[in-house]
Symmetry: C2
Subunit: 335 residues, 2 copies
DNA sequence: AATGCGTTTGCACACGTGTGCAATTTAGCG
DNA sequence: CGCTAAATTGCACACGTGTGCAAACGCATT
């Protein structure tokens, strides 16, 4: 027991074969006789052998690690995404290397290094603050890059984007059906690309119907941001609707409007969110929202990972479909 | 540009020195002259050199990876913990390898392998379903193990546990101050050690005061579990209080009790949760709860990681202090 | 039995790094 | 300048794995 770890050589000695045979036994599709394979498996089991992925990665010039750069892990939608990604990667035999972009805010260079130094198979960037630097570095080092809701950036990275245009339009149509004439639109201050698209699409449709718009863009993507917006915006009694770029903001807005300011939602006021996080289903809120299912994101990501074209041959693009989920913060349909 | 990656040898050639010098330049405390160091750094910068961590890990017989085994990533407390851990690891120059225990439920052996094959520096197990197998495997392979809220298991793993006994007692005292005589206690069906401790401590105190107890242990740790419990338990009109082992369950219970069944909380009914997740502060709920701060967990984890004693010399133990956070689901204090 | 062909096996090299050891250069000091 | 100690540098090995190549082997057909 030197250093506590068993190597392929140890197994080979135990089984009375060459080290190559051990390696081949654990390499799918390699040529080993049934007899030898069984003897090796028995020896490996007995000694508790585990292949050293570091050595394997060195030899293969690539690891099974996939870097996942996430920010705002407190946002339920992001964690749902992370949950799905980590599960999917595990089932593919890949490892999930989680990098907290928040913690690396003023040290992006270091973050880039940590990813690249491990020769990761790919890097997935969840929406959030835009680390441009990492994008450029990945592309320069031939590391596959998967961007989620970051819009059309230059460079051939795979891109997966919510159909925000349809999402914004669906929300607008619903708002118009409710007969609202002056709606507030809200998003967080750090201007994510995806939030911008939703809001712009919403505004475009509202403008066509001559509905007045009041814009709010401030603070982090949080419940409190919605609360604050409600307290200030709702001083203007002419506002009769709100479209929030994320559910978290929408829930804060709704909470303050309904329970603090006593506004009758949906009778006098309509609220629509975006993401369809679990909290929207709480009976106390029942928020009408636009959903872009996590499942669809996962599928798209797996498609990107499975695709084994060269990086120079261009990239993949996926659009995640959306759906308006009508709950209790918009008026009931006219039948 | 062979294979797209620059090696130390490439840098050495560019700088006109030996490869050893390059290695030493990037090894803190090694002996390199100022002149050579600068020449090497310039060459490395120019070529875009990055250490290959796989080779480094192979050489050092250890990687900078830390395995984090998490289940129930949809629980806000767990994600807050994960957020803190990933940030702290990053700042320590360590990598966070996230493993989804949920996805590996019927494939724990595979999960064990994935961790050990990467020669991780340590494994952190967040509370949740108990993968006994991984614990045993880590200890057998001399991998440091950090158990969070999993109680006193055999084997010398570092253990970090919430002071559940005090937590349960504090909740009980508050409930008694409210004069409740029949309280329901709730926890999820998969019996986590930590939940069990809280509840038992609570019950012990209530028994001393001759308060009637109704037990509920069913379903996952979720909002819906709390809703379901409320609908069934509250048919019994004599119940006038509830202690929930997690905030998620407590919020579901509160939501159904207050908004669906119209029960006056806290006038006629007291509810106390556990975890102090952000949602407890929502004005619509303002849940009284027991907090065990994420910050304290992170500190304890870092202490474990920094500690470089041998595994055979015993393990560390930390107890996380708790605090009762009084909000709007228990009666106001008598002054 | 001899031939031919497909399968199995072992040798040896490569992957990129850290570091002990000895050789060499530099610095310090009289 | 000469001597000694210290700092620097290069060589060579080790870490554990996958795989090309050639040798050895098994088996069926002639």
């Amino acid at each position: 027991m030197k250093s506590g770890f068993i190597t392929a050589a140890d197994v080979a000695r135990e089984a009375g074969v060459s080290r190559s045979a051990v390696s081949r036994t654990f390499t799918p599709g390699a040529s080993v006789s049934k007899d030898v394979r069984e003897r090796i498996l028995r020896a490996a089991e007995k000694l508790g052998y585990r292949v050293n992925r570091l050595a394997q990665g060195l030899q293969m010039a690539q690891s099974n690690l996939v870097g996942v750069v996430a920010a705002n892990l407190t946002s339920p939608f992001n964690t749902a995404l992370l949950d799905g990604i980590s599960a999917a990667l595990f089932k593919r035999g890949l490892q999930c290397m989680l990098l907290n972009a928040e913690a690396a805010r003023d040290d992006i260079g270091n973050l880039v290094n940590q990813v690249l130094e491990y020769r990761v198979r790919a890097v997935i960037i969840l929406s959030g603050a835009p680390p441009e630097e990492i994008i450029e570095a990945c592309l320069r080092n031939d590391v596959r890059l998967i961007l989620i809701n970051r819009g059309t950036l230059p460079g051939n990275a795979d891109k997966i984007d919510t159909d925000d245009l349809t999402g914004g339009r669906l929300a607008a149509e619903r708002m118009l059906q409710d007969g609202r004439r002056h709606v507030a639109i809200m998003r967080s201050g750090n201007g994510s690309v995806s939030q911008k698209r939703r809001v712009e699409s919403f505004v475009t449709r509202m403008n066509q119907a001559d509905v007045k718009i009041t814009d709010w863009m401030r603070g982090p993507n949080s419940f409190e941001t919605g609360c604050e917006a409600a307290r200030i915006l709702l001083a203007d009694k002419s506002i009769d609707g709100a479209f929030c770029a994320t559910d978290l903001i929408a829930l804060g807005f709704l909470n303050t409007a309904r329970f603090e300011l006593g506004i009758q939602v949906p009778r006098d006021f309509s609220i629509i969110g975006f993401d369809n996080i679990p909290e929207t289903e709480w009976p106390s809120h029942r928020l009408t929202t636009v959903s872009h299912p996590v499942k669809a994101f996962i599928e798209a990501i797996l498609n990107c990972l499975d695709d084994d074209r060269q990086l120079s041959e261009g990239a993949l693009n996926f659009t995640i479909p959306v759906e308006l989920i009508e709950r209790g913060t918009t008026a009931a349909h006219d039948a």
